[in-house]
Symmetry: C2
Subunit: 315 residues, 2 copies
């Protein structure tokens, strides 16, 4: 059994806890947190005490934020144990790989970095699609799903009591991409749909502020729907997301590769990929590999609980 | 530059030839064939002479049939050079892996086996989907596409002059799978659509023979359309195919992973995967790996022409 520990207990950490418990080959060692009281029946340890437990933990899932926690803590932890993180700041991933590579290697550990779905399974499918189809045209669509950043922007408008923003792929752009005319980005490829709870007297002004907000909404086909508090509570408190990567090639005469995710819960799915990568981290490290790796470097069979022979029998 | 040679010059070999020529990091060494006259400007060598060229060939694409050629020739060739094959007899893949593993290892070579799309990219996505989603329900749909075996069965009916059979996924089964109610197979999940050229006097009898043919058509929702020779020539001589792998999980609360291919030409796409795997074969062998591997064992970045650093920068 693989002893898995979790650092951080927000949406991602709680999802990881549920998922580790249902794996046939994993046991939950405990949760490392800055808080001492967590609503869990798992063992809880201080985030400062990882070093004391390192010899009993096979892999630590870093379920902490990409904005400040990963840059501050991840490398220190990778010196102590094998880690899997979901660092998602695309522009800084090369620097993150470098920092984690040095830290993990110095401790004889393996760090799987920037897993999840994007970066993660989407990255993998972009690489696969482009490797297979010559001179590829590639388009990534996000949605249907909640954008946290855009929802925050809505909530900063005066008079908005509750708000959520769904990003939707534009149907015409998806069809064009599948037909070989891809490459759309941003407002060409996506629409924005906002659900707002606010006093009726403010509706007209709020809608005007939203659709004229530069960068966030103004360039997009944006719809605003005002709903009641009850409807918001009933239908708009989840964190669904999803998207697709479409690769086509003129040189390959209209072939299309599409990878699509429909995620009922964004953090649950991110955690699911992270848990599968934990298995690979332990196996690769046991095989002598140290430093940092992305999902692009993991032989896929190492993600599965089954043996390679079992997988090949069902290939 | 990677020196790539091709064994066999049917649909698959010709597609591989075109694709090798457009790769930035490959050169076509030549084509090994049982025939001495081929309609190509590449160098042509006898299939019996691979040993004489082995030190100049980095990898040999085995573009020969799975029924008899691969079982007869593949292991002998894998002793001489790195190989990539598209052996697609699912039930016998474990035996094929074993035979190729022994042969390739004895020659210090690497054999990538059973690549293409199914087995191949579909196998990879079945493993990825099941590794990520706990207690997965998984459904593979084939089509829209030409089934060679079923087209052959049509052509054996008396009076049929030309015939093609398209396999189509049943829309209801696809929707059910995406909604988490997957697991359909065979006639539950697929329809069959036949296009036939025949004398009008034979139409009624031929249609009756088709829809009552056991196993092939009788259990399926089968439609038969009689068309003219001209229409057949204009619209039904290609080899399109495709399909999708859908994975869902109740434990992950309605998450869905879908991998979908729309292939304008089945052999062209199979060759495209084979060519990408050729890159991995050479790199893994240069790194000391010998024996046989499936696509499940290849770190995905080895399939791409770009360096790992370039790929990570675009992750």
């Amino acid at each position: 059994m693989i002893n898995v520990a979790i650092a951080g207990y927000g949406n991602l950490g709680r999802a990881a806890e549920r998922l580790v418990k249902v794996q046939p080959d994993m046991e939950l060692y405990g949760i490392f947190s800055r808080r001492s009281e967590l609503d869990t029946d798992a063992k809880v340890f201080s985030l400062d005490s990882v070093a004391e437990h390192a010899d009993k933990v096979d892999v630590l899932l870093l379920c902490v934020g990409s904005a400040t926690d990963i840059p501050e803590h991840a490398a220190k932890l990778a010196k102590l144990v094998n880690t899997v993180d979901t660092y998602d700041n695309h522009a800084h991933i090369p620097d993150h790989v470098k920092a984690m590579n040095e830290a993990a290697a110095s401790g004889g550990n393996l760090a799987v970095v920037s897993t999840g779905w994007d970066p993660g399974l989407f990255s993998l499918n972009r690489v696969l699609g482009a490797a297979v189809l010559p001179e590829p045209t590639q388009t990534t669509f996000w949605g249907d799903g909640v954008s946290q950043g855009h929802s925050d922007a809505l909530r900063r408008i005066e008079g908005v009591r509750r708000a959520v923003q769904y990003t939707l792929p534009a149907d015409e752009a998806v069809e064009a991409a599948l037909a070989g005319n891809g490459g759309q980005t941003g407002p060409q490829a996506h629409k924005r749909s906002c659900y707002i709870v606010a006093d009726e007297a403010d509706h007209a002004r709020i809608e005007q502020e939203i659709v004229s907000m530069p960068d966030y909404f103004e360039p997009y086909d944006t719809t605003v729907t005002f709903i009641s508090d009850e409807e918001f509570e009933a239908n708009h408190t989840g964190l669904p997301h999803g998207g697709r990567v479409i690769t086509t090639s003129e040189l390959a005469g209209g072939q299309a590769i599409e990878f699509r995710l429909q995620l009922a819960s964004n953090p649950d799915f991110t955690a699911a990929v992270q848990v599968a990568c934990a298995r690979a981290a332990v196996r690769m490290n046991a095989d002598g590999r140290t430093g940092a790796v992305t999902i692009l470097e993991i032989p896929p069979y190492l993600l599965a609980a089954e043996s390679l022979d079992e997988l090949i029998a069902g290939i």
